[in-house]
Subunit: 254 residues, 2 copies
């Protein structure tokens, strides 16, 4: 067995996801990115722009997971309060960052580095910057908490910079086989037996309903690719045994 | 002021969202639906198919919020453990449901109501059913916890049945104005002043970056539509004052 992989929690901070105004695009992106770095995402919380909630949640999850990532709430407006809340959670001053402040000041025309923009250069004492190529405002890291933008393309640029700098574990391998017209209730028992034979894998069953027909995606995940492939080979035999045609990879209309 | 609106928490239960295999489609749907019923969504947690995590989380959030909704983990396979975990959270037996069991038994051909499918008719003692028109397997409610399917179209059918039966509050009204080419940093101060003048509203600022240009969406939310409209009128004047053209409704390429 490989050494235990580090774990991650993601905090999506922002009223716009809770109101339904915005469909979150960051959870899936980071889930995939973290899996590739061998840092499985174990929990996501979407929380509002409420100081007490942010502070308490940051403190709860940073004690519980190896890594905490946050998205949202680091812009210049009154509802962007993630940065000062993270400072409060760590019990450190929230102050001009020695690198970010002069850099941002130089990036704006004289007089345009106003109070609102200065907030984006104000960070918990001791923070290290998380760089990006889209916006002049960086994210930051303090302890095991990584604070990133909520706008997807800025967040993705921060992740691109950050990802190779994280200490990861073994990559989580995922193998999938699909079967059209095979109800979950028919294969559930056999599938449970496969899960029992491969306790180090995570075997999942996900039904789908599409115009072209209904089916089920059967997934094996774990750090050992050969083991995931062996489990999928057994599941593929199960599908054939039930008189259906196994489809490797994605079904035609995904 | 209206009576205080009831609050909601959503638990998205399933490894497939945490691994990035699936992009969740239920958060936004329920966020909008709950807002329309005047039950603002205050927190979302995405948690894995791990019994201890599900049980502890259900107990934590059902004490904290008026309503708890769950999606996922009520199918027939070994990783569908939401139902038995909710029974454990409430400390009640997990047993054949007096309505769901005979109904599902009758829906299958003789011999096809197997052990896996029987799991879908097994629920916490005292549960009331949540009906749907897609699948023969219902969801259920116990206390303030509403357990629904994870497959979006089944969940949506359950919500359609459930929504008018919930005791809601005043609908949350949302008004929006957009401005192209207006940086948040320029309007942040004025916007904060609007928020201060309307403490009963939730004023949000959401930058967007699109091929057709960058801009910002400015949103006012609250139970009082006239108040939200008044705030948006002030914000619209701000946009004009900064030399930009306010766009009502959605920008062209959303």
């Amino acid at each position: 067995m490989a050494a235990k992989n580090p774990t991650a929690c993601l905090l999506v901070i922002g009223n716009e996801v809770l109101s339904g105004r915005t469909r979150d695009a960051n959870i899936q992106f980071l889930a995939v990115g973290l899996g590739e770095r061998g840092i499985p995402l174990r929990e996501v919380r979407v929380i509002p722009d409420v100081p007490e909630t942010i502070i308490n949640t940051v403190n709860e999850v940073r004690a519980k997971f190896d890594y905490v990532f946050t998205t949202g709430g680091i812009g210049p407006t009154h509802d962007d309060i993630t940065s000062e809340c993270v400072a409060a959670a760590f019990g450190v001053p929230w102050e001009p960052h020695p690198i970010a402040w002069p850099r941002m000041e130089a990036a704006y025309k004289p007089g345009e580095f106003n109070a609102a923009r200065q907030r984006m250069a104000t960070m918990p004492r001791g923070s290290a910057l998380i760089e990006n190529t889209i916006s002049v405002a960086p994210g930051f890291q303090i302890g095991n908490v990584y604070v990133m933008a909520g706008v997807p393309r800025i967040m993705q640029s921060m992740w691109e910079w950050l990802s190779p700098r994280l200490e990861g574990g073994q990559k989580i391998e995922m193998r999938t086989v699909h079967a059209m017209g095979l109800p979950e209730g028919i294969i559930a028992e056999d599938l449970g037996a496969v899960q029992k034979r491969y306790p180090d894998l995570d075997i999942g069953s996900y039904p789908f309903y599409r115009a072209s027909g209904n089916g089920v995606a059967l997934v094996a995940k774990g750090p050992d690719a050969a083991m995931a492939e062996a489990a999928i080979a057994e599941i593929t035999q199960m599908i054939v045994h039930h008189g259906k045609v196994p489809l490797q990879g994605e079904p035609p209309d995904v």
